[in-house]
């Protein structure tokens, strides 16, 4: 196992982990505001199909990404209206959104199944990419991978160091208190949900425009659900999410790499590897926080009714 090989594996791990990272980043912002959006799969798939269709008909992958973001936001807007304005149950509505998005995307995309588009080309950053190992692993990716890192850093910064972050967390921890001091709880939640939807759409676009530049029904294969679990296991911390997403990517690759190397472990067991590995690592990371319970936003999943005082 030489250094080149390890470099390639790490490179592939980052690439594979990126769709997971994108969607988890969106969901963590959404959940920090106290809204549990289980509709990730549906929004991701709609983003993927719409982004693909846009790129297919216009020939521009960039337009595809924009279309996907808009679609993801639109889907989450429906969710936000039902949940925030009408007070519908968040879990049930999110599940309905997933089922709706999955079916609608299959219908919308039925004409272009199996077609391909010219996706994003990798952008090789000069100088930095010449660093041995790390250079190839970190600095020879395509635009969306870089974007995901930038977004992650931005979210971490905003959440932890700015007033906006504070407002977001306040709304998630104690909406009644936040409302009492004049924060517009519903508006904050709307924006958080919209951001989550946009990221889901972006993640979908990554799947259908970069990862496998084709549209196939259900192509996200459960990544939305994994992302939801990842957010929980990462204790709603952005740094942990990044780590978890790439770890999942690494384990997914290892399952295939080990087989290719001739390891005769049952391929089914190897396929479990990513999920098991992610769970183990996350448990270890949050072990010392067990006493404080998981750092879930206290009002996660509970509807906020402005008319009702605590």
């Amino acid at each position: 196992m030489d250094i080149d090989f390890i470099t390639q594996i790490l490179f592939a791990a980052i690439k594979t982990g990126t769709p997971l990272l994108l969607i988890a980043l969106g969901e963590v912002v959404c959940e920090k505001s106290g809204v549990l959006n289980l509709g990730q799969e549906g929004m991701m798939l709609m983003g993927a199909v719409v982004g693909f269709l846009a790129a297919y008909t216009t020939g521009s992958a960039g337009l595809g990404v924009i279309a996907a973001i808009l679609m993801g936001s639109t889907m989450s807007l429906i969710f936000a209206f039902l949940v925030l304005h009408l007070g519908a149950n968040q879990v049930a509505t999110g599940l309905a959104l997933t089922i709706f998005g999955t079916g609608l995307s299959a219908f919308v995309g039925s004409d272009v199944v199996g077609q391909t588009v010219q996706g994003f080309q990798p952008i090789i950053i000069p100088v930095l990419s010449d660093i041995p190992v790390l250079g190839k692993v970190l600095f020879t990716h395509d635009l969306l991978v870089y974007a995901s890192i930038v977004i992650a850093i931005t979210i971490a910064f905003i959440t932890n160091k700015t007033r906006i972050g504070l407002i977001l967390k306040a709304v998630g921890e104690n909406p009644n208190a936040a409302n009492a001091i004049g924060i517009k709880v519903l508006r904050v939640r709307y924006l958080a949900v919209l951001f989550g939807g946009a990221m889901a759409g972006l993640s979908g676009a990554y799947m259908s425009l970069v990862y496998t530049p084709m549209w196939i029904e259900n192509m996200t294969s459960g990544r939305g659900w994994i992302a939801l679990a990842l957010v929980v296991f990462a204790s709603w911390r952005v740094g942990n999410i990044v780590l978890g997403a790439y770890l999942f990517g690494l384990a997914s690759i290892m399952h295939l790499v080990l087989q290719g190397m001739g390891w005769s472990i049952s391929s089914n067991l190897l396929a479990m590897l990513p999920y098991v590995a992610t769970v183990i690592v996350m448990v270890i990371i949050s072990a010392d926080q067990f006493k404080e319970k998981l750092l879930a936003p206290r009002s996660l999943g509970k509807p906020f009714d402005p008319r009702q005082m605590a």
């Binding site: 199996g114 496998t212 294969s221 690759i253 295939l256 049952s266």
Partner: protein, 355 residues
């Protein structure tokens, strides 16, 4: 009054007779993947469409795609039988037991199961000699590889897949004694995401010719992107990888579907274990890339002809398995039943068959 009611009843009888006229023969198809897979299911559907056109209104067809192998399959096949299908084709190995079960419950309907080995009074099987196409693939791969490492993206460890892996290796070994194969099991017939990952993982390990037993063009797309070559599976995949594509092993189901439907309609159908390959033109080598060197093209053609004419059969002994057993004796050629039970790797494949 009496006259009117007489007229009315006459009219009703006439109407009913008109409705009760020749109802077309109904044929149902069950696909494991989407017809848009541009691979296995796509070709079955093309066969279905050509068959329907051939019968010009006397036959109506119906298909259900994306049917998972297992309990869902049983539901779908039952539904097709219950809604009046006279003949049902189930097009994936994993539909074997569900088809058998439903065939027992609907003795008046005829069932045909692709790539399986269980039959009954009203259920036959039809199998492709895919190993013929694989042998030619191996020959081409062995000649074109520079790293002497071939990659095989395998779906499930069933006899058909093991057979094909052996055939590729044999073909490659016959022109290149230094050949090695890397096999990856993805446990799916169709999952472009996984197939992409598998292809990338194989290329990272030095593979420079990609072969696949899965149904999407994803591995070829990866091959094209990373500058290696590959062979298309089940349908013509040349437009996905214009430079990387060597050729595609194409399935053509129309002649078989027409023949079987006619037989059932005529009442001459007998359930059988049909094996078709190059000779029956049910399997073909298509879109041989013009950028291949002339000697490779010539060898592809000559190997194809040799197999098609019956002069050469890939599974002719002496063949030793990679555990040292003589699995085919000198001069002996496996018959179809034995072919359907191949559960060994040929000597030279450094791997174990997963269970």
């Amino acid at each position: 009054m009496k006259f009117k009611s007489l007229l009315l009843s006459l009219g009703l009888i006439a109407g009913m007779n008109a409705v009760h006229a020749e109802s077309p023969f109904k044929v149902g198809f069950v696909y494991v993947g989407p017809v848009g897979d541009h691979g296995w299911s796509y070709e079955h559907d093309r066969g279905r469409q050509e068959m329907e056109k051939h019968f010009d209104g006397k036959v109506t067809t119906n298909y259900v795609e994306n049917v998972p192998e297992g309990a869902d399959a049983e539901r779908v096949i039952t539904q097709l039988a219950r809604s009046g299908s006279d003949l049902i084709f189930t097009t994936s190995f994993g539909f074997m037991n569900p088809t058998l079960k439903v065939a027992k419950r609907f003795p008046k309907t005829t069932f045909e199961h692709a790539t399986g080995y269980k039959r009954s009074k009203n259920m036959g099987t039809y199998v492709l000699r895919t190993y013929e196409g694989r042998y030619v693939s191996g020959v081409a791969a062995g000649m074109l590889t520079k790293t002497n490492t071939l990659g095989y993206i395998a779906s499930f460890p069933i006899p058909e897949v093991i057979r094909d892996i052996n055939a590729v290796y044999m073909g490659a070994k016959s022109v290149n004694p230094n050949i090695k194969m890397k096999i990856v099991w993805v446990n799916t017939w169709y999952d472009p995401g996984k197939e992409t990952d598998a292809a990338n993982a194989l290329i990272d390990q030095g593979v420079d010719i990609m072969l696949q037993h899965t149904d999407s063009p994803a591995p070829l797309i990866v091959a094209e992107k990373r500058g290696i070559r590959g062979i298309g599976q089940a349908s013509d995949m040349s437009h996905f990888a214009p430079k990387a594509h060597i050729f595609s092993i194409r399935d053509d189901w129309a002649p078989y579907y027409i023949k079987t439907t006619q037989a059932v309609m005529d009442g001459t159908y007998e359930p059988s274990d049909f094996w078709g390959g190059f000779k029956e033109d049910i399997l073909a080598i298509s879109s041989i890339n013009s950028n291949l060197p002339a000697d490779v093209k010539a060898k592809i053609d000559s190997t194809y002809e040799a197999i098609r004419s019956g002069a050469f059969h890939p599974f002719t002994g002496p063949i030793t398995s990679n555990e040292g057993n003589l699995v085919i004796e000198d001069g002996y050629t496996l018959n179809d039943t034995e072919l359907s039970q191949v559960n060994w790797y040929i000597e030279g494949i450094d791997d174990k068959i997963p269970n």
